[in-house]
Amino acid sequence: MSQLILSRRRLLGFGAAGASSLILSGCDQFDFLANRDDPTRNFLERANELTYAAQRALVPDQALAREYAASEIRQGQRPNGSTDPRNVAEYAEQVATNFANYRLSITGLVETPVSFSLDQLRNMPARSQITRHDCVEGWSCIAKWTGTTLGAVLDQAKPKPTARFAVYHCYDQMGGGLSAPEPYYESSDLIDAYHPQTILAYGLNDAALPISNGAPIRIRIERALGYKQPKYVHTIELVDSFARFGKGNGGYWEDHGYEWYGGI
């Protein structure tokens, strides 16, 4: 009986000491979680797979992102990330010729690789949608995007049954300075690629898509955050794994510690 009380007292003492050290020591001691290869971080990251699975189960594949009234367009679309990749020679050349020689290529796990000029894309059935762009930083901006449905374009290349993801290759390069420049790329599963609101956007707010927002083509995946809307896209590659691109995480920001799904 007295032993029992003693052990309880000791337990309480340990508990109080542990709690106070946690509170008083500040939070530098959790900085190890910033290390992308830390095993504890990698364990915590598995919650992202749970989120992806839960959203795929909870969100019907065809469920639409909200579309807004024209009166909700109250400002220009705020540009973020790369806003002028003319430091990349290939892209500078495209801008100089007003994208006359631009081709969007569909490659990878397809029966017939195809490519389209900007005019060809503009002549395909168009879709306009006024949607909200949600940046991972926390801000939102409503704008009207015009383009052609990605799914219909992919179908023209006849995807193979082994295709699982679409990888979007872009002209712009990130980093530089101390680190080597890395080409921006992104990827999505085929549910997002074939979503009815997923478009190859060439128009923004009833004008041609400006350079700062991704000219000539930007992918809109409306049920995902801003970093999943790659700009300056030149090639879409269907793959069964994105291990061989960048650091193998499915996108530039994913290679820098952000989660891949991007739906939350």
């Binding site: 009986m1 029992l4 309880r8 337990l11 309480l12 508990g15 109080a16 709690a19 946690l22 500040g26 939070c27 530098d28 959790f30 900085d31 979680l33 910033a34 971080r41 915590l44 990251e45 919650a47 992202n48 749970l50 989120t51 959203q55 909870l58 969100v59 019907p60 469920a63 639409l64 992102a65 909200r66 807004y68 909700e72 109250r74 400002q75 220009g76 705020r78 909200r132 949600d134 940046c135 991972v136 930083e137 926390g138 801000w139 939102s140 901006c141 409503i142 409306e222 049920r223 995902a224 955050l225 920001w253 820098h256 510690g257 952000y258 989660e259 799904y261 739906g263 939350i264």
Partner: protein
């Protein structure tokens, strides 16, 4: 429960008479309590990290860059006295240099919303903040589900959380007693305690979870009503932040009450389940609501 009978024998008075040790907190209440302590700690500090990526709050669907719908923001500006940190609440601007806007991190000036000591990690790292936040968000949701099922099953919810008419009538008296720092230790909670735990568990926890989900573009497609209920994504973000502030306030009052009401007894009840009730509390009879 062999020790309960022994504990219940009143100890001969040396000064004040002692009440009986009563079994007050079930294993589910205790376990979920401590899991929440850990989860909310990480959620708060990773949440402030995420917020620092865009330290402004708005009303409506979008963030006004070309128009003004900002209700709260933290920033840094150049001034005659160097860079100063400013916090703006509904247009009222306060100099918060040293804590908000401009602070110090490892001996260097740090231009961030919340200071490094309040974020995980201490330096700016949105990606890591999100990894930590979403992991513990799942823990919070799962723990709340376990708590709800267990508390409905073992009557804790009905007995200790839901306010009955008698509790509502007793609120003013209990408030006066708390303000006078006179605490009654019963088997169940006092009306004010019931009200606090009801607000936190039944209102604030679900509210912070749902406003969090409202910020998810994926969930917006599945449950578009979230946007209507909370008045747009940016309003939901503002409410999410506001609920965080309320939970921090609850934490401060909660700790103060534990210290004032007898930290040893309070901690013992939340670890072992046993609580030293006020003298006169019946040791064995099941007490419904004091």
């Amino acid at each position: 429960m062999t020790d309960q009978a022994a504990d219940s024998i009143p100890i001969p008075a040396q000064g004040k008479p002692k009440g009986p040790l009563v079994y007050r907190q079930s294993i589910f209440t205790r376990l979920t309590h401590w899991i929440w302590v850990v989860a909310l700690f990480f959620l708060l500090l990773s949440g402030l990290q995420i917020w620092n990526a865009h330290p402004a709050l708005y009303i409506g669907e979008q963030s006004g860059f070309a128009f003004d719908n900002t209700v709260f923001s933290i920033g840094a500006e150049n001034s005659d006295q160097g860079v100063r940190g400013f916090t703006t609440i509904f247009g009222q601007k306060f100099d918060t240099t040293g804590v908000l806007g401009v602070s110090e991190l490892r001996g260097r000036q740090n231009f961030v919303g919340f200071p490094g000591w309040a974020t995980i990690p201490s330096s700016r790292d949105l990606a890591t903040g999100r990894v930590v936040h979403f992991f513990f968000a799942w823990i919070l949701v799962a723990t709340l589900a376990v708590w709800l099922v267990a508390s409905l099953a073992n009557q804790h919810f009905w007995r200790d959380i839901v306010l009955k008419p008698r509790d509502i009538a007793g609120l003013p008296k209990d408030l006066a007693a708390h303000l006078a720092l006179k605490f009654h230790h019963g088997r169940s909670y006092t009306p004010l305690q019931k009200l606090s735990y009801f607000v936190v568990l039944v209102i604030l926890f679900p509210l912070i979870i749902l406003t969090g989900l409202t910020m998810s573009p994926g969930m917006n497609a599945a449950w578009p009503w979230l946007l209507d209920v909370f008045g747009g994504r940016q309003t939901a973000r503002t409410i999410h932040f506001g609920v965080m502030v309320l939970l921090v306030l609850f934490f401060v009052v909660h700790i103060a009450m534990v210290l004032l009401a007898g930290p040893f007894n309070e901690l013992r009840s939340m670890i072992t389940g046993y609580y030293r009730a006020s003298p006169g509390t019946p040791p064995d009879v099941k007490e419904m609501s004091k």
